[in-house]
Symmetry: D2
Subunit: 281 residues, 4 copies
C-alpha cells in the first residue's frame, strides 16, 4: 500500500481588521475579516515535521495588519490582490494563495438630519465578500454578497409541480417569498472598478428579485442571474444560493377566522435549498 | 422541614409572527417574536399534577396568532397590551401576565431610485423590544432597543483611573469606542403615542452617543440616559447596557510602522460590562 | 426635575482561563469563563467622568489570570470566593462584588481501554456554573448547571388542562419529554465541600427526572427540586428552568402509516417556558 | 451573448428526525438531521417556470419521515442509501441524489450506578456525519465526524519554521494543542458494517492524536490520517480539518509570577486553518 498526501492547505482565519482613515472633515472606517490560505510544497511538514517551508499562520496575521497600514483598503478586492501578491512573491514554496475577505457594513449615524462625521452604526446584516486566488500563472477575483435577507409579499407562486405518494403540498398562486441571499460572481480580469461594479450588480439582483413574476424560487434565481450577466459584461459567471425561508400560513379556521395571506409563522427549519450557477459562453 | 414553591412562571417563547397588511398601493409587513408568561395559582399543577388551572402554552401560541389577525399591530406596545388584557380577563387563576415582544426591522428595497411597494430587505440587526406586565391592579409598559452596534472614532478617552499591582493599562486620550447598545425605558402610563416616543428616544440616544466628549463608557452612558429623561417626560426610568467592544491598537513597532489610531484588531472576548439605570424623582 | 443614578455595575466578561496542573503521572486541566462585576461608589465616574475610583476592567482581567496562577482551581466556587475577597479587600470604593463562573467539561480520551493521562475531549455540552456575591456583611454562594439536554421517552403525559376558544391541543398520556435543564441552587454557608455537593445534587436531579411519572413539566420540575431539598440539607433554595423542547408526532396518516410514538419532528421554536423555585422554610 | 445554466441543485435541509424504538426492556432513540439534494433535468423550471419535473422540497421532507417509519435507522449510512435509492428510482428526471445526514449523540442517564432504560442526556457536542451520492452508474458513501473538540497538554511543539520581516512568533517545544476536529472518509463500496468501521476509525483518530509527538498541526494531521488508512482497508481517502484553537500563554511577568505552561487564555479568533487529505494509491 502506498499513502499519498493528495491535497493540503493552511492559513489563518478570522483575522479581524478595522482601519480608520482620518480625513479633514470626517473619519472613514472599514471593517474586514480576512482568511489567508496557502497551497504548495508542504509535504515534508506533514510527513517529517520539517517546518522550514512553513511561514507561520501567526506571521500571516501580522502581515495582514502591516499591509493594511499602507493600503487605502477602499475595496476588499484590491486589498486581497495586494495581500496575495505579497505572499506569492516572497514565498517560492507557495504555489497558490487564496485570500477570503468579508466586509461588514457601517453607516454614519443620522444626527439632526445629517450624517455625523465620526459616529457609525451597523448597517444591515449583509456582508460583502471577495475571494482572490493567485498562482504564478493566473489570478482570479470573485466577489459576492451574503446574509442578505430579502422578502417579497406577492408575485410569487408554486404550482403544477410533480406529485408522488408522499406529496401533500397544494398549489399556490400567492405566497410570501423570503430568502437569505448569497451570491458570488466571477470577474473577467482583475483591474476593475470594483466599487461601481459591486454597486451595479447588487442593485440589479435586488431589482430583479423585487419585480419578477415568480413561478418558483428556481425561476426567480435564474431571472436574477440572467439580469446580472446581461447588465455587467465583466461578469463571466454567477453562483446564487437562495434558501427558501418558509413563511407558513397559520390555520385560523378552528377559530372561525379567515386568513387571506395575512398571518404567517416565520420558520428557520426546515428550509428549501435552491442553488444555481449561470455562465456566459 | 417544610418545602415551599416560592415562585413559578410558565408560558410560550419564540412565537414568531409575520403580519402582512395589503394596502391599495403597497404591502406593509410587521415581524414580531413574542413570549407569553403567566404567574398565578399554579401550585397544585406542581405538587399534584393537577392541570385544571393550566391554560396550555400551545393555546397561548394560538391566541397570539388569532389576536394578530384582527389587531393592526402598528406597535408592539399596543399589541402586547391587547394580549395581556385578553389573558388576564379570561383567566382568574392568572395573577400576572408578562408579554415580551421583539420586532425585527425591514426596509423597502430601493428600486430605480424609489422604495418598492412590495419588496423588503432586513434593515439593520437591531431589535425593537417591549415588555408588558399586567395584574388586576397595575399595568406597566417598558420599551427598548437591543443589538444596536454603534461606534465613534474619536472624542473618547479613559485616564486617571485607579491603579493596583495588577494594572498594566495605560491612560489614553483617544480610542475607538464601540458598543452593542441595549436600552429599555419605563413609561409613565400606558395610553401613549408609542411610535413617536420610540423615534424620539432612539434618536436622542444616538445623538448623545455621537456628540459626547467621553471620559469613560460610564460617562457616556450617563449622558445618554440623562438626555432621554430630559427630553421625554413620559419616561420614568431608563436602563442602559453598553458592553465595551474593545478595538485593540495593533503594535506595528516590530515592523517599523507607526500606528496613530489607524489599524485595530476587532475583538469579541473579553469585553467590558457597563450598566446603569437613571431615574427621575 | 431631579435625575438619579439608581443602579450601576461594571466589570469584565468572557475572561477565559485554562489552568494546566502537571501532576507526576497525568496532566489535569480546568477551563473556566469568568465575569467580574462591581457595585459601589461610582457615581462621579458617571456624572463627571472622574475615574479615580474605577479599577479598570482590564485590571480585573489581569487579576483573574494572576490569582489563577497560585490557586488550585479545584472548584469554581472556591476560586470565585477567593477572587471576590481579593477585590473587596483591596477596594473600599466597591460595595458589592459579584463573580460569575462557568466551567466547561473535559474528559480524558480513552486510549486502548484506559484514560490517556495527557489528552482530553470535550465531555458534554453542559456547563457548571457558580455565582459569588460578597459585601462587607454577607457572602452568598450559588451553584448551578446549564445547557444540560435531557430527554425521557415515556412516563410523561399532559391532560385535563384548562381549555378556551383557542385550545386545539389534545390530551396525551404518552409523549417525549425533552428539556434543556438549567438549575441553580443557593447554599447555606460558604465553607462547604463543593465537589461532593455538586455531584450529589446533579445526580439527584437526573434521577428524579428519569424516574418521575410526569403529569406535566411543572409536575416534574417540582419533584426534582423537592428531591434536591430533601437530599441535601446545605441547599436553601433551588431555581429550575425547564424549557419544553417539543418533539412533535409526525402525521403519517396521509401515507397510510401508523405512528405509535415512533417518528417525531425535533423543534427549537416555539418552546414552552417552565420555571419554578423551591425553598425550605 | 449566450447564457447557460451551468449547474443547479435543490432540496430540503434541516429535516430533523427523532426515531424512538421501543424494545422490551429499553427505549432506543436516534436523532438525525437530514438534507436531500437533487441534480437533474431542471433547466425549464429555471428558464420557463415549468415545475412539472420538480418534486417539491416539502415532499422530500415528507418522504424522509415516511421512510424513517419502516427503516431501523441503525446507521445514518444505511438510511441515507435507502433514501437515495428511493428518490432515484422514482424520478427519472433526477440524475444525482445527494443525502447529507448528521447524527447527534445521546447516552443513557446513569441512575443508581446503571444506565436508565428510558432516559437520556446529550453525550458530547460531536456529530456523526454521512454523505451519500447516487447516480444511475455509481454510489459513494462518505462518513465523518465533526465538532469533536480535543486537546493535548504536551508532546506538541512548533519550531524551525520559515521567517520573514513580519515574523514575531518564537519557537516553542511545549504548548497546548487544541483543535475542533472534522474528518470525513470515503469508503470503498457501500455494503459495509458501518457501525464497526466508524468505531474503529474514530478510536484510531483519537489514539493517534493523543500519542503523537507533534512537531506541528500538519505533522499530527498526517499521522492521524495515515493511521486510519493503515488500519482500515475499506477507507480509500480521508479528509481532515484541524483548526488550531490557540491557547495563549498569559504573560505574568509584570506581576513577578512565572508561567511554566500553567495559565492560558482560551481564544476563538483568530485561528489557524490546517487541512489535508490522504489517499491510498
Amino acid at each position: 500500500m502506498n499513502i499519498q498526501l493528495s491535497s493540503t492547505s493552511y492559513g489563518k482565519s478570522a483575522v479581524r481588521v478595522m482601519k480608520l482613515n482620518k480625513h479633514a472633515n470626517w473619519h472613514e472606517i472599514k471593517e474586514v475579516d480576512i482568511c489567508t490560505l496557502f497551497e504548495g510544497a508542504f509535504e515534508e511538514a506533514h510527513t517529517d515535521g520539517d517546518n522550514s517551508n512553513v511561514l507561520p499562520t501567526d506571521t500571516q496575521k501580522n502581515t495582514v495588519y502591516a499591509l493594511a497600514k499602507d493600503h487605502p483598503l477602499q475595496t476588499i478586492e484590491d486589498f486581497g490582490l495586494h495581500l496575495a501578491k505579497h505572499f506569492l512573491d516572497g514565498n517560492p514554496q507557495i504555489h497558490k494563495v487564496r485570500i477570503e475577505l468579508l466586509q461588514k457594513q457601517w453607516a454614519q449615524i443620522m444626527d439632526d438630519g445629517k450624517p455625523h462625521p465620526k459616529a457609525y452604526q451597523r448597517a444591515g446584516n449583509e456582508k460583502w465578500t471577495a475571494v482572490i486566488e493567485m498562482t504564478a500563472d493566473k489570478t482570479t477575483v470573485q466577489s459576492g454578497i451574503s446574509d442578505l435577507l430579502i422578502l417579497k409579499t406577492t408575485d410569487s407562486g408554486f404550482s403544477n409541480f410533480k406529485r408522488d405518494e408522499f406529496t401533500t403540498l397544494k398549489d399556490t398562486e400567492d405566497r410570501i417569498f423570503a430568502t437569505n441571499l448569497a451570491a458570488h460572481w466571477h470577474y473577467v480580469g482583475t483591474d476593475l472598478d470594483f466599487v461601481t461594479l459591486r454597486k451595479t450588480i447588487q442593485s440589479t439582483l435586488l431589482s430583479a428579485f423585487a419585480n419578477h413574476k415568480s413561478l418558483s424560487v428556481q425561476h426567480t434565481l435564474y431571472a436574477m442571474g440572467k439580469q446580472v450577466l446581461e447588465t455587467v459584461e465583466q461578469v463571466q459567471k454567477i453562483d446564487i444560493d437562495m434558501p427558501n425561508k418558509h413563511h407558513l400560513l397559520v390555520n385560523l379556521e378552528p377559530f372561525n377566522l379567515p386568513n387571506h395571506n395575512e398571518i404567517f409563522v416565520v420558520t428557520d427549519e426546515p428550509y428549501g435549498v435552491i442553488r444555481g450557477a449561470l455562465e456566459r459562453s
